[in-house]
């Protein structure tokens, strides 16, 4: 997991916990606030009760005064105003409290006070003329204990802010002697009421108690309230609609509750309100800023803070530890990468270092094989070649495996000839199989298209691995290589190739099947310890198939053999069927003589650069027969020097050289403008065979590259590709054969393809000789076929037709060969109808061809000196032995091929009779006579 993801998850978890704490704390705080508000509201109600009690008490005292005055009136002895005031003066205890007796009927609202004026202590008159407190108290209740109260006002006699409790009294007017109604006022300083509220401050330190009347005017004014009217104050600092405002007014005047509002500073505060019980003229407001309720929350904030701090410390600690681990891990990763790089470097070095000497070994060995006349030495050299190739295979396996492991292996699809691929495969494996005494069977579908598109190299490698394994692990019996092609329904441009290799080898135990594809695992190591290999072959094959979307299937029975098979899809480029590969191959075997150069180019000049002199020698010798002019250079500088002086048609430049390597040299060469080699292709010689080399070399500016050890076939192919066509001539003839001139009339014969015949026979002389044999036996053969057919001996007829097919193809009489092949098939199938219809045509064309070839017989006596090599005894014995085997196997094609190969040699006098007898037997299709001829001799 990435560091960022881990940190994110950590943060999310911490965030969730903090969120939970926050929510929990918030809920708790809300709950606590709610409780506080409830308590606050309760306090308000209690306070209002205290005030009501106080007001009722004061009213009660006022009522006592009034009752006393009124009782006198009721008793018929009403008091005068002065008497009433005198009584009150005596009755009241507190000096701050005054009694006023006012006559409202009087315009001046004059009356008498219990206390003299401040300005004149002897003046007891009092006037309420300029004090409008009686407007709303018109109906002062006469009932006792019903609070009749003024608003807070300024006591006109002393200027003290006061409230007055009222009651009506009846007194006698001294002047008129009539009973008049007076208003008795118990005037109490407002501060007395305020004092009642002070004690509450202990519980709520910042609480402000206010009293308002129904209009909102303050009776008692809290410090935070502005304006003379609470509702005006509310309106000034709180935005509300007219309806909301009316609602607030209504609620505060008549109900009990709590509400939030903004104070003059815009702070949230809470007011709890309740109307004073029993008198609805006043409401009590308790004010407290919201902050006072939130005090408890500070504990939760602390908790939240500590938790957050803790988490931050934790994340810092964890990050530090994690970073330290990561640092160690990345160091380990760096080391691992370095080790891997070292491995790659080692592989590349090994590739180079092993391949370079291998180049020398195999190249020089090739020289030995080519030049040595001593069969023993040739045999040893062949062994060296085999062992060398095996070693190269192992190296290649290891390199491939390392490429696959590094993910650098790529599938590169190219158009390829399937026949060519098969040729290579069979060439590589058949020899090994035969060397082990195994029968190598081919079963190739003749309908396989000739040109396909796919990764030829990898497919070849897969099959080689499977085939090599089959050969390696089979001690006796056979190995059968089978390829089938099937069309794919929904892919009209592709085919599915099914490749299977069956052997009669050691087989694999069921429990070992799983280990088959494990790298470096070798199954049944104990029993197979003599078998060379790295244990990588199957792994590589399986990996390649994986990359191609396929897989290797194995069926095996321990001790009896195995079948390895796989299927791959290949795009078809050319649908022409490859035809009978077995046949073609068998024929090609006869052609497989020893090395022969593909061309000569005496006027072409190439330059080869390599720091190892032996490699230069190998190179020069490999191309000796091509007659190329070859210059050599042992360093980049020497190369550059030659490059500027002489013209070359191709330059081969080694990559790994001391001082100045191939790429550096190439760069310098490319920079040189004054050179006759501007257009000369430059090919890299390299012992590096690891992945990406082609890209590297082409990117570096090389036109192509050739791996060492140098494969002479590839080298010559490459030269054919790059040498100017005008300088390339046909391969030089070997000895006199090279100069053999074919009679001109042959080229005019429609029935034969001279080129094909030459290809099959290897040389002009051999071809003419074969044609002669074909001519000599023609009449005899034709008659025999007719005879067998006339006597309804279909079997022998078919055998004869088969032989005719083969010989016709060898000489290039392809149409006759095809006709014979068709009739052979018909014969095999008992298809008499076809035979009836076409055999006559075959015989007729056969005879006509023989007639056309008769000019050859005429020159027989004029044969030139035979300078073919004298066949060695061993070789002759080997051929006789093979003939014997083929006859036993009734392998007629091989017999024909082998006998034809005798034409390449001069035959010792003493063996001439027998060889001729054999040739004649073959020409006459008397194969059954051959064992007798041989055994007679061998006995």
């Amino acid at each position: 997991m990435k560091r960022r993801a881990i940190i994110t998850i950590n943060l999310l978890i911490m965030g969730s916990i903090l969120f939970f704490i926050f929510r929990y704390a918030n809920d708790k705080a809300s709950e606590s606030t709610h409780n506080s508000i409830q308590a606050f509201e309760k306090m308000t109600t209690t306070t209002s009760q205290i005030i009501v009690n106080y007001l009722e008490d004061e009213q009660h005292l006022c009522d006592i005064w009034a009752n006393y005055v009124n009782s006198a009136a009721n008793d018929g002895a009403p008091m005068t105003a002065n008497e009433a005031i005198s009584y009150i003066r005596k009755a009241k205890i507190s000096p701050e409290i005054e009694g006023h007796l006012i006559f409202l009927d009087n315009a001046e609202r004059k009356g008498i006070s219990t206390t003299g004026k401040v300005s004149d202590l002897n003046d007891y008159t009092v006037s309420y003329k300029n004090i409008s407190i009686f407007d709303n108290i018109g109906n002062v209740s006469n009932e006792n204990d019903v609070v009749n109260l003024t608003r807070a006002y300024t006591n006109p006699s002393n200027g003290v802010q006061s409230i007055a409790f009222l009651n009506n009294v009846m007194v006698i007017d001294e002047e008129s002697g009539e009973l008049v109604k007076g208003l008795l006022m118990r005037v109490v300083p407002l501060s007395r009421l305020e004092q009642k509220l002070v004690f509450l401050n202990g519980e709520y330190e910042n609480v402000e108690i206010s009293l308002i009347d129904q209009e909102g005017n303050y009776v008692v004014h809290g410090k935070s309230f502005k304006n003379k009217n609470f509702f005006e104050y509310y309106k000034s600092y709180n935005t509300s609609s007219a309806e909301e405002y009316d609602q607030v007014v209504k609620e505060i005047v008549s109900g009990t509750g709590t509400m939030m509002l903004k104070n003059a500073k815009g702070e949230d505060c809470i007011i709890s309100y309740t109307p004073l019980a029993t008198m609805k003229t006043w409401s009590l407001l308790a004010y407290l800023p919201v902050g006072n309720f939130a005090v408890n929350r500070s504990i939760d904030w602390l908790l939240l803070g500590i938790a957050s701090g803790g988490f931050i410390l934790l994340i810092i600690f964890n990050s530090t530890v994690m970073m330290s681990y990561n640092r160690k891990l990345s160091e380990a990763a760096v080391q691992a990468n370095q080790a891997n790089e070292a491995k790659s470097y080692f592989l590349s070095t090994m590739s180079h270092d092993i391949r370079t000497p291998m180049n020398a070994i195999l190249g020089l060995n090739e020289m030995v094989i080519r030049d040595s006349k001593d069969e023993n030495i040739r045999m040893y050299s062949e062994s060296i070649r085999t062992a060398g190739n095996t070693l190269l295979g192992i190296i290649n396996d290891i390199l491939d495996f390392s490429k696959i492991e590094a993910g650098k292996m790529e599938i590169i699809n190219v158009d390829y000839s399937f026949v060519s691929l098969l040729n290579d495969l069979v060439n590589m494996v058949q020899k090994k199989a035969e060397d082990k005494g195994l029968t190598f069977n081919l079963d190739i579908d003749s309908d396989i298209p000739t040109v396909l598109n796919g990764d030829e190299i990898r497919i070849k490698q897969i099959i080689i691995n499977v085939l090599s394994n089959a050969v390696k692990y089979t001690k006796k019996g056979h190995v059968t290589f089978m390829v089938r092609a099937n069309r794919i329904a929904d892919k009209p441009d592709s085919i599915r190739l099914r490749v299977s290799v069956e052997d009669t080898g050691v087989g694999i135990k069921p429990e070992d099947l799983d280990r088959l594809f494990v790298a470096f695992e070798r199954i049944d190591e104990k029993s197979n310890r003599n078998i060379e290999g790295t244990g990588l072959g199957m792994t590589i094959a399986q990996s390649f198939l994986d990359m191609m979307g396929s897989h290797l299937e194995v069926e095996s029975e321990y001790g009896k053999g195995s079948v390895f098979s796989f299927e791959i899809e290949q795009k078809v480029i050319k649908w022409d069927p490859i035809g009978d590969f077995q046949e073609s191959f068998r024929l090609s075997l006869t052609e497989r003589a020893s090395y022969h150069e593909k061309f000569t180019a005496p006027y072409a000049r190439v330059l080869v650069v390599d720091d190892t002199p032996v490699n230069l020698t190998v190179f020069v010798n490999l191309l000796r027969n091509t007659k190329l002019q070859i210059d050599t250079a042992e360093s980049g500088d020497e190369c550059i020097s030659l490059f500027t002086k002489k013209h070359y048609d191709v330059i081969f430049l080694d990559h790994m050289m001391p001082d100045k390597d191939g790429i550096e040299t190439l760069r310098e060469m490319k920079a040189i403008t004054d050179t006759p080699n501007k257009e000369t292709p430059i090919i890299c010689l390299t012992a590096n065979a690891i992945s990406g080399m082609r890209e590297m070399y082409t990117a570096a500016g090389f036109d192509d590259y050739l791996t060492k050890p140098i494969d002479v076939e590839r080298l010559e192919m490459m030269l054919l590709q790059y040498l100017p066509k005008g300088k390339v001539g046909p391969p030089s003839a070997k000895g006199s054969e090279d100069e053999y001139n074919l009679p001109d009339f042959l080229f005019n014969l429609k029935e034969i393809d001279v080129g094909s015949g030459l290809t099959h026979c290897g040389s002009g002389e051999s071809y003419v000789s074969t044609l002669k044999m074909y001519l000599d036996s023609a009449e005899n053969n034709a008659k025999e076929i007719e005879r067998y057919y006339a006597s309804k001996d279909i079997k022998n007829t078919t055998i004869k037709v088969h032989a005719l097919k083969s010989t016709s193809r060898v000489i290039g009489a392809l149409e006759i060969g095809e006709l014979a092949a068709r009739l052979e098939k018909a014969g095999d199938a008992g298809d008499l109808e076809t035979l009836d219809r076409e055999l006559g045509e075959l015989i007729s064309r056969y005879r006509q061809l023989a007639k056309d070839l008769e000019p050859l017989a005429e020159g027989d006596d004029d044969d030139k000196d035979d300078d073919r090599p004298l066949i060695s005894d061993e070789k002759l014995k080997e051929i006789f032995k093979s003939l014997q085997d083929y006859c036993e196997d009734y392998d007629l094609d091989s017999i024909v091929g082998l006998v034809a190969s005798l034409d390449e040699y001069r035959i010792p006098e003493e063996e001439m009779t027998r060889v001729d007898a054999i040739k004649k037997a073959v020409d006459n299709y008397d194969y059954e006579m051959i064992p007798d001829i041989l055994s007679g001799e061998m006995r």
């Binding site: 401040v118 409008s132 200027g159």
Partner: protein, 432 residues
């Protein structure tokens, strides 16, 4: 590159200026240094006749920044003028109380002034030097016992948008006034100047010509006593003012009948009519001007088409208008206060250019301090030359003489008397 450097320099300058601005504000704010422990708990009561005193309550809040445990309240007293003297010496005496200049010299208030703390006592440290000197009243013994908080004046509200629209300058002398009015009249303004045709101080004739008369009186101080004593010949001092008034009411500047019809009182009606937006100049006192802010939203016409307006002195003189500054309200400290030290401390806090301007600004009255820049409405007053700026105290005129002059102009303005008749009748002109 250059551009970047220039930008950086400009930014730096702006930052420096801003910082300086902040710094200076901070400095001003900190000019008050509490004398007592800031945790001192105390209560103060300020009494007065204003039913509401929000601008003072705002100052309470500012004072709490220095004394958070203080508790100040403003109490409206019933029948203030009759009760205040008693209240100052009662059992619950107020700490600070409002006073008016007209109380000076009135026997009824002798006791009141006896109760006043001497604010000029250097020990108190109350620095009233920021107040215009002409506004400071002192007792015969030279003590200062009351300090002006709000002041007022006579002049006119000017609809600046009309002047801007008509591309005219606000007139600064009588000649310009007549000129401008002619142009305005031509532009369709029936009565370029309007006002309340009332006997009162805010009445249009008083606003226009009283400052000129007061100036003349001040310049003829030798005749003041005669004027105050209603000596018949002294009425002659009114002549220049009355003749200018006569000239004015008979000019194109004003349609007095229109004023009578459309403006029914000298306060609310004046403001609301002005807010109709079609009166270039409206005579008003500072007190009337102070009522504009609250009425802007009450005027549908003004809400729909608000305009810019300012207060100017009336350009009645040939050389220019006169700024007669009268004190609206003073504060005095009750020496019987039970918290006398803290009452003085509050005064020390309040008597300061910023606080007084803040208060005046909130109340929309003319500040008593010598800086008119705090309130744009009155900013033009700073342009009146010192020579023609004076306080009502400096005129030496007593209230009865002022009332006779007001009766004279009311009669002449309304065509009930000629100038000569009014001068001849001085001392006996019927008052409303």
């Amino acid at each position: 590159m250059k551009r970047t450097i220039k930008t950086l320099i400009s930014l730096s300058l702006v930052v420096v200026l801003l910082l300086q601005g902040c710094g200076s504000k901070e400095k001003e704010k900190k000019t008050f240094v509490p004398k007592y422990d800031k945790n001192t708990e105390f209560s103060l009561t300020v009494v007065g006749s204003y039913s509401n005193f929000e601008s003072l309550e705002a100052e309470f809040e500012r004072f709490y920044e220095y004394y958070p445990n203080a508790s100040l309240q403003y109490v409206t007293m019933d029948d203030y003028n009759n009760v205040i003297s008693s209240a100052l010496v009662n059992s619950e005496p107020p700490d600070i109380f409002t006073t008016n200049t007209w109380m000076v010299g009135n026997e009824k208030y002798n006791d009141l002034f006896d109760s006043c703390e001497v604010i000029s006592d250097p020990e108190l440290g109350i620095d009233y030097s920021c107040i215009r000197n002409s506004l400071i009243w002192s007792t015969d013994s030279g003590d200062v016992v009351m300090l002006p908080i709000f002041t007022s004046s006579y002049g006119m509200l000017v609809n600046m948008d009309i002047f801007e629209k008509e591309n005219l300058e606000v007139p600064t002398n009588y000649g310009e006034l007549v000129e401008v009015c002619k142009k305005l009249k031509n532009a369709g303004y029936e009565s370029p100047v309007m006002g309340a045709d009332q006997f009162s101080g805010p009445g249009l004739f008083n606003c226009f010509i009283y400052p000129m008369f007061a100036y003349d009186a001040m310049k003829n101080s030798d005749k003041i006593d005669a004027l105050n004593n209603f000596e018949p010949s002294s009425g002659e001092l009114m002549r220049p003012a009355l003749e200018r008034l006569y000239e004015f009411v008979n000019s194109d500047c004003i349609d007095v009948a229109k004023c009578q019809n459309e403006i029914i009182d000298d306060y609310d009606s004046v403001i609301m009519r002005f807010f109709e937006g079609d009166v270039p100049m409206m005579f008003a006192t500072g007190d009337v001007a102070s009522g504009t802010a609250k009425r802007e939203s009450k005027s549908e016409a003004f809400s729909a088409n608000p305009f810019k307006y300012r207060f100017f002195v009336a350009p009645s003189g040939d050389d220019g208008g006169y700024f007669i500054n009268s004190t609206s309200l003073c504060f005095s400290v009750n020496k019987h206060s039970r918290n006398l030290d803290m009452a003085n401390e509050f005064m020390r806090f309040l008597i300061n250019k910023n606080e007084l301007s803040n208060m005046a600004g909130l109340k929309r009255l003319i500040t008593p301090v010598d800086d008119f820049s705090f309130d744009e409405l009155y900013s033009s007053l700073a342009d009146v030359p010192k020579d023609r700026s004076f306080s009502d105290k400096e005129t030496g005129l007593l209230d009865p003489a002022v009332r006779q002059f007001r009766a004279a102009i009311y009669a002449v303005g309304n065509g009930r008397m000629t100038v000569d008749e009014a001068i001849a009748a001085y001392g006996n002109i019927p008052e409303e």
